[in-house]
Symmetry: C2
Subunit: 197 residues, 2 copies
DNA sequence: CCGTTTTTATACTAAATTAGTACAATTATA
DNA sequence: TATAATTGTACTAATTTAGTATAAAAACGG
């Protein structure tokens, strides 16, 4: 009884679904289209997922897990706070972690099966797990001690939004420059000691 | 008998359709959704358009006309060639003119009613009209004389594609810089006389 | 204010799309 | 070559969408 999640086709479906959902949102993508794009027959799809909603949950889960992993890796790294912040902001800028608005909106507005609750539960869990890591990092001296980790986490979230802000981007000649600026802003307030180049 | 096209609701429908089609393509948008977003009742929609295909044609037409207008204005301006090229490239960069791939693809792949022919015909017409303008500008000395206008037009098309090219953008610290570079490239080959700052 | 026109909301039917299942044919696998 | 995995097709039921009719509500012009 090997895990279905390691299956090649399963992965393909998940990845294709992610792409399509990201672009068009949940409702606009039909299973048939998905199968076509994923080069998988309908039957194989139904072997893995009972319906589109469960697929969406799997996509969402996968994304949360992936984001969590990246986040943790950065937080646990043995690097100055400033460096960590830069990486986090950059990660958000790349959009690899952010969950598409189109997708979430459809996903969220479906009142039938408790998707809303599902999203909230997953988010809460991911959040608390992250906080634990932040606290460890704080104890190790990576971040300033007298600061609520919750605040740090929240700010870094907001930071992620800022780097994709159109009007803000226009103020800088390149996204990288904006990232640098934001990093400095964060680092000076957070770093236990030194400052930036 | 006033022209329907000057109607407020008509404009709203057209603009909303443009936005939605641009984002999601032709097929993924339902009339109902369109009406909701455009804050217009279904009945009003059917007052203006017999069906979605005719709406799509109108959207397409409008876009072509708009692009043509901008193009002409630039070409007719009393400015150095270099300046004109910059404006054209910038216009493409803004994407105001480009017709969304999502939209065109759906629009094009519909083999039923001759949408393909429709697009081709419109494009051909817009093209020849532009050429006329280019030739005039050439006669006035805005562009180098011994050069086929067709070539110029074609190159400027390609130029528009280049500024949205991801890998190319990464080579420059900002889109503006890329535009400048491209402008210079064009200007030195085209301009009847002087060179750039 | 009134009468007229425009717009909307609702409800409805027909047409089209989509979900999900069954099964024989094909392909990959060991 | 036997076995399991995958596909393609065809099908029905369920859902969505297109397009029309109609009465109520809103907007308008004098």
């Amino acid at each position: 009884m090997k895990d279905l999640r390691n299956n090649r086709k399963y992965q393909k479906i998940l990845a294709t679904a992610r792409d399509l959902f990201w672009k068009h949102g949940f409702k606009r993508v039909s299973i048939e289209e998905l199968c076509r794009k994923a080069e998988v027959s309908k039957m194989t799809f139904y072997k893995f997922f009972p319906n589109k909603i469960e697929l969406a949950k799997a996509v969402f889960d996968h994304e949360v897990q992936e984001g969590l992993k990246r986040f943790k890796n950065i937080v646990r790294e043995d690097a100055p706070a400033q460096e960590k912040i830069r990486k986090i902001v950059e990660m958000k800028a790349e959009g690899t972690n952010n969950i598409s608005k189109e997708f979430l909106q459809d996903f969220y507005s479906d009142r039938e099966l408790g998707l809303r609750e599902y999203v909230e539960k997953s988010t809460r869990e991911a959040w608390t797990e992250l906080l634990k890591d932040f606290k460890h990092a704080q104890e190790r001296g990576s971040f300033r001690g007298n600061m609520k980790p919750e605040l740090l986490f929240y700010i870094s979230q907001k930071m992620g939004e800022l780097v994709t802000d159109e009007t803000l981007l226009k103020m800088y000649s390149s996204p990288q420059e904006l990232v640098l600026e934001l990093t400095n802003l964060m680092a000076f307030g957070i770093s236990p000691r030194d400052q930036t180049t």
